[in-house]
Amino acid sequence: MGIENKKVDVLVIGAGASGAAFSWKLAKSGASVMCLEQGDWINPLTDYSTSNSDWEIHRQTDFNPNPNFRSLNVDYPINDTESPIAPLMYNAVGGSTIHWSAHFPRLKPSDFRVKTLDDVADDWPISYFELEPYFDLNDKMMGVAGLIGDPAYPPKTQRQTPPVGLGKLGDKITHGFDKLGWHWWPSDSAINTLKYDGRPGCNNCGPCDLGCSIKAKSSTDVTYWPKAIKLGARLITNARVREITVDSYGKAKSAIYYDSEGNIREQYASMIVLAANGIGTPRILLNSTSTKFPEGLANSSGLVGKNLMFHPYSIVTGIFDEDLEGHKGPTPLNIMSSEFYETEHSRDFVRGYAYQVVRSSAPLATALSGHVPWGKKHHAAFKKRFNRTITFAVIGEDLPETHNKVTLDPNLSDSYGIPSPKVEYRLSDNSRKMLDHGVGTATQVMMAAGATEVTHDPLKREAGWHLMGTTKMGTDTKTSVVNKYGQSHDVDNLFVIDGSIFVTAGAVNPTSTIQALSLHIADYVISKSK
């Protein structure tokens, strides 16, 4: 099958958040590690647009978070016509940490025990406290800005740099929380606010989502990867994996991929580790059919691709009658409120939600917000909003449901003919009630802070940043795909380490937990190989 490469100990597929952490840890242990990444390296100094006057337009084109709009050669299309939320991702070394806003909260202890506590979904086969040392190690590797003492979390170790500044806008909104007596805290951010680990502190330029040209934002191309490569890990870019093959015993044998010139190559490995995100990973597994695994690799449970969870977002925007200098500082202000995070039985939904506070939109985004008409009222409407808005992203816990799923689209493929994923998703009644509650309470905070007007979007479509649940972890081989070490129940030398293995979603950004899990799994793999 094509050009055969020399066998390696560990083959990782995907160089994003989890693949980078795992590759570093394995390379440090002395294993021969190779990583295949669909995208390429990005040069922060030359490839990001934020030093050009047209920087905002890049959100619509080559830096659009939606691969269907971005349509770069390294992307694959996704059929999302049957989902009210569009999946978002980035294909490059660093994966979606390239365009993320670097929110870095951990899931909370209760998130791992939702069955026991609230009789919904399933408990995780691992606890917050088992993961705690890996959270700490990952924080050191990534560099986290924040403040210890948050009563919404168990105590944490000292953060690497101080929290992101509040600025005038942060002062304004925190008065609202204070008036109501509700929880708020400067949430962890994977952003250096001071020099750390050879990278500079943030200069508060704003648009983290367009990539950080000074490397203050901790995308894994500037954190884990340089260290992993120094330790001997090999990273092959523009390597598009088509399928994983198995030997006659049903063990993972190799990955077949297209290289940068379109040649088909076969990479043999003793162990294969999937880190291609909650859509890319089930896509590869479902494309890897064989006589032993006719329904897709590692899919005896039938659950590969099922239980897809996003975090559904409602967006609440308050307009204030003063200039809040909302363009200064990282767009994600990284204030988070956990006031409504835990289950409260008097409400008409179970589990809970958080708010993230977002600074004002930049000029073009303000104009294109849908609230600034053309014609004679244009300038007044623009002035009313520019630098004068504060936005809450209400992020709700989405519980797993098997009808929310990733399958292979029979009519859609990427430029090499590899079948593309199709996403089918419906917002549950519980999630709808949760978000409606969040819109109501967020509006209260805005008004308490002095907003003159509050608008909201009940369900943001371009918000599928968090892709989880599609190869669920568990102890029962009939109701899960992998065990607590990300190891396939069906194929013992096949592991999954990305958000696909989440049992439930929590109501915070998943990256910190994804990386802690990948380091935990790496430790298991190392201990077993000794």
Partner: protein, 144 residues
């Protein structure tokens, strides 16, 4: 011009200045050469070339340029409803060019420079002191 004819350009200039009228110190779109910007940005995408050339030709065929300003605005309001796809692209490209122009960015109160490499000075903020009250409420995480 890469794509648009002289007539297309004249029509687009009038429309752009009605979409974002000149006001106070804020320039009009044509003051900042919006037509060249739009011509350049649509010229990379065949779908947009078709949409703009055919759409402008359609508008020109309705004697748009000889109408009075009030009549042109009325025309465009109706056209927005009947030709939503093209009109949305007209607005998007006009806003794109206008709100990424350094002269405009300066006129709305910013430095006129892109975010990097200088960034901004951000006040740390005074309200970290309010966190004492949040702390004093005690643990709110649920211990399983």
């Amino acid at each position: 011009m890469k794509t648009l004819s002289k007539t297309n350009s004249d029509t687009l200039a009038v429309i752009a200045d009605l979409i974002i009228p000149r006001e106070g110190t804020l320039p009009s779109p044509t003051d900042i050469n919006i037509v060249e910007h739009i011509d350049d940005s649509i010229s990379r995408t065949p779908r947009l070339i078709r949409l703009f050339v055919e759409g402008l030709k359609d508008i020109e065929g309705k004697d748009f340029l000889i109408l009075k300003e009030k009549e042109q605005i009325d025309f465009l309001e109706k056209y927005e409803s009947s030709h939503n796809l093209f009109f949305n692209e007209l607005i998007r490209h006009t806003y794109n060019g206008y709100y990424t122009n350094p002269m405009v960015i300066k006129a709305i109160g910013m430095t006129g420079l892109p975010p990097q490499p200088t960034g901004y000075d951000l006040e740390q903020g005074e309200n970290f002191k309010l966190l004492e009250k949040v702390r004093d409420r005690g643990q709110i995480w649920r211990n399983p």
